[in-house]
Subunit: 209 residues, 2 copies
Amino acid sequence: MPLAITEIKKHLPGFPPELLEEISEHGMMKEVPEGVEILKEGQYIKVIPIVLEGLVKVFTRMEEKELLLYYIGPAQSCIMSFSSGLSNSPSRIFAFTEDASLLLLLPTDKLNKWVKQYPAVNELFFQQYNLRYTEMLDTINSLLFDKMDQRLYNYLLEKSRMKGEKILPLRHKQIAGELGTAREVVTRVMKRLEQEGKVKQLPEGIQIN
Amino acid sequence: MPLAITEIKKHLPGFPPELLEEISEHGMMKEVPEGVEILKEGQYIKVIPIVLEGLVKVFTRMEEKELLLYYIGPAQSCIMSFSSGLSNSPSRIFAFTEDASLLLLLPTDKLNKWVKQYPAVNELFFQQYNLRYTEMLDTINSLLFDKMDQRLYNYLLEKSRMKGEKILPLRHKQIAGELGTAREVVTRVMKRLEQEGKVKQLPEGIQIN
DNA sequence: GCCAGCCGGTGACCACTGTCACCAGGCTAA
DNA sequence: TTAGCCTGGTGACAGTGGTCACCGGCTGGC
């Protein structure tokens, strides 16, 4: 069953009508609940997702230790899928839904064609590469130059901004995972941030001031 | 004076004849000696370089501390220039010639057109984005997971590979700059690597075993 | 010959962070 | 109720790396 064109158009207004029709024919819409792994390390890619609604988080991992690289928001796509899909190489990262999400799945072979045919697609992926490049640059700078308190605080601010929430229901363990550190370290640093008045730990979660 | 088409073609064999002619008309060839800054932080870009011969190194910097991100080799281009040039935003990184280099300079407005017009240009920049993305990912993993000895050794191996030399004429201070650490730390770690038999410090430079 | 400057080398010190061990409170399932 | 589990919280400790002070050797300029 082809997808509803008006539905796709709503999320991707820049795409021309012919492209929307092609997407309607070959693409697939998928609703994914929160906390589902949508891309594994080492996996070969056959479809490339574009996030229409929700939020997807992207990680790197080495031996039990992980690090959050960036979020994929609405109307954004996953560069690693794109790159892996077109060059037929395995993924170096893995991705989870952070919130329940609506994904548009595009088959790699068609997308390869569309990139050449439709400037809007071409531009989308250039923009995405560029965005991720600068985000990775920020991550590198943060890793190299910032102490844990700054990194943790930035992380909370960013998360709060992405979600539009002042109170984040996060476990210390979970934060530790996303920052590539240990739970005790998060506890310690959270205490310090609280004393400095930057955050407040409530039973419901962490309030950012 | 237009550039010699045969000369350009030699370095960029994938480009079609019409494109080579356009490049010949609007591009500029520039020989740059070793150790020259070719891209500053905060600088706005009017031309995008493609390295034809030589080697260019790309850095990030924050308050006196620097970190080598990657090298741009022959037939490769600078993604940050490309991105900054097309979106007219300032550069977040800076770049030096590591060896004397021959650069092909392309004006941003023309390149913008060529990307849409010639698939070969389009693909080149997608490839470059992809390459830099994975290199940044390696850098992040190295920063997060490796100790200084591993980072330093990887750095030496990579440098040796890029240059095709077993003996690298490097100062400790210079290495420290490229790894974002202090000179004393390099001295310390070099000593350890030497004791482990991985490298040897000679008067002419550092020999990689 | 003498001095300045750069280079590697070293010891002392300290801040940060990762790790281990352990505890108390709260919640849940048996 | 009890046992188990997850959570945050702590103290002790060690390893890493950044900083400071200072050295001796070498070199190039005067």
